[in-house]
């Protein structure tokens, strides 16, 4: 790959596909490290936020793979502190979001992210079923997915007696409409979005 093709984010590379899908270019980053300095989760990450960007900047497939396998992309809470402070206006939370979706699609999710992923999946499953979140349903299915049966068992009665737990779910009238939204977006979770700055309609929509 030529240096020019690399720097512009050639569509064969992960940065190129990222740019097509989100309009974000990792080559805007000059590695000042401000994102990492402000990140509340940086201390727990395997790669600091600026290092994730660095892995993508170098143009080496094995490093791009490393970014997709990183725990960091799952620890990002989208608090937006990095984006607010970036002198180059790189939307790092959006990049992390894209990497998570790629990581999931490729089946290379970091093993330590399994609880986080289980929570997200349990959350979305309850929304698809009812249209709104049912907290008891969410916690039950999270426990079933992860085996953390005893976490927060002492909290449940407190919540119940304060009237904060609804034991039974009820679906909204438009539940079928919400479920249809899930079905229609499930087909291509990682396909490029039509984006003003990227090239449209070139994605893999299968």
């Amino acid at each position: 790959m030529s240096a020019t093709a690399h720097a512009s984010g050639h569509s064969d590379t992960l940065p190129g596909r990222l740019r097509e899908a989100t309009g974000e270019s990792v080559f805007n980053c000059y590695q000042c490290g401000k994102c990492t300095a402000g990140c509340p989760l940086a201390a727990e990450m395997d790669y600091a936020p600026n290092q994730i960007v660095r892995l993508l900047q170098l143009g080496l497939p094995e490093l791009e793979e490393e970014a997709l396998r990183a725990l960091s992309i799952w620890l990002c809470l989208t608090c937006e502190t990095c984006a607010a402070r970036c002198p180059q206006e790189v939307d790092l939370p959006r990049i992390m979001e894209y990497l998570r979706q790629q990581s999931l699609a490729r089946g290379v999710v970091h093993p330590k992210a399994k609880d986080i992923l289980a929570f997200h999946e349990a959350f979305l499953a309850t929304i698809k079923r009812g249209g709104r979140l049912h907290e008891v349903g969410l916690i039950s299915s999270y426990k079933l997915k992860t085996g953390h049966f005893f976490q927060d068992v002492l909290l449940a009665p407190k919540l119940f007696f304060r009237g904060k737990l609804k034991p039974l779910p009820h679906a909204i009238p438009g539940q079928a409409d919400v479920a249809r939204i899930f079905d229609r977006t499930d087909r291509a979770p990682d396909a490029p979005l039509p984006h003003g700055r990227g090239s449209e309609g070139q994605g893999n929509h299968t």
Binding site: A84, I127, D177, I181, P194
Partner: protein
């Protein structure tokens, strides 16, 4: 002021006191709330972690339903929902191709006519429009206004004038007689969506927030987000275990602070539903704690007598167990 209302899922469950207090004070403030019929979950962090299109389509449906009901403005009290709805509206208005794709998915028209407002937007209007005259019992406490992430960031969505040191909530609580303190953790993240999946992380991040507020003499933390409330209030036991220190500092929704000042009762405002007891009448001098965290940027004089009320187990004023542990 007639305004649309999108409560969000938390307000129907674990943060129902936020809902109760909002509905209790709205009529007193001359605000008429109309709930969006058949609204659905915004997808929260789960949707935009796993599927970007889903993260846009779910809020878009509720926005489209708000439009269909003829609502020009929509109050979204949960700041996570607020962020998802406001970002979706922004992205769909910016990008015609995306808008047509999402409207096909939701099978509803979307024009973006309904504007998305946070509680700070709405209470800010009230504050500059006669709220002061309605105050019956000024709040009269030192409070740490905690904004968290989504009321201020991203700046292009929230149009917050000072995203690193916002003042909107401080200005509102001043009108009802509270004394907002200067502190360092106004916009730091509480751990948000990791409340279940990474409790240790939440205890660490939220612990710093509670600690700084207490160390600087706040008598209450004021929030405008159910997730912030959960992490600072419901998760207090984990915070105390992590920091090896007790904190009696209650966490109130801004609607509860306004409600108390308007003379409403504690039960009407759902104060009895909190995990950390709210005993404002008897709040002793501010909680005294020494700076235990090396990341806490400001040295705090621990000259206030330790007074943690009935929570007990106060730290010694000069040093902190957490500090010793770290050393």
């Amino acid at each position: 002021m007639k305004i649309g209302f999108f409560p969000g899922c938390s307000l129907e469950g674990s943060s129902r006191e936020y809902n109760e207090s909002l509905h209790a004070i709205a009529p007193l403030l001359g605000v008429e709330l109309t709930e969006v019929p058949d609204w659905n979950c915004c997808g929260a962090s789960a949707a935009h972690s796993l599927n970007h299109k889903l993260a846009l389509a779910l809020p878009a449906r509720s926005l489209a339903l708000a439009e269909k009901s003829g609502l020009d403005e929509l109050l979204v009290p949960c700041s996570a929902c607020y962020s998802r709805l406001a970002i979706t509206r922004h992205e769909l208005l910016e990008n015609d191709a995306l808008r047509s794709e999402i409207t096909k998915i939701i099978e509803l028209p979307f024009t973006g006519r309904t504007k998305v407002l946070s509680v700070l937007d709405v209470f800010g209007r009230c504050a500059s429009n006669g709220l002061k005259d309605k105050v019956r019992t000024p709040f009269g406490q030192k409070v740490a206004c905690y904004y968290g992430c989504y009321l201020t960031r991203p700046e292009k969505i929230t149009t917050c004038a000072r995203p690193e040191d916002p003042r909107e909530m401080d200005d509102i609580v001043k009108v009802v007689g509270a004394e907002p303190i200067n502190w360092a953790f106004k916009v730091e993240c509480c751990g948000a969506g990791f409340s279940v999946s990474r409790l240790d992380t939440v205890a660490e991040l939220s612990g710093r927030i509670v600690h700084d507020a207490a160390a600087r003499g706040a008598q209450a933390i004021v929030v405008a987000c159910p997730m912030c409330h959960t992490n600072l209030d419901l998760r207090r036991d984990s915070i105390e275990r992590t920091r090896q220190q007790k904190y009696a500092l209650p966490v109130l929704y801004i609607s509860q602070v306004i409600g108390l000042a308007l003379g409403l009762g504690e039960r009407q405002l759902g104060l009895h539903r909190h995990h950390v007891p709210v005993r404002l009448g008897s709040v002793a001098p501010a909680n005294s704690v020494a700076p235990a965290n090396s990341r806490c940027p400001t040295p705090v004089a621990a000259d206030v007598p330790a007074a943690l009320g009935s929570a007990g187990a106060s730290p010694s004023p000069g040093g902190s167990p957490a500090q010793e542990k770290e050393a």
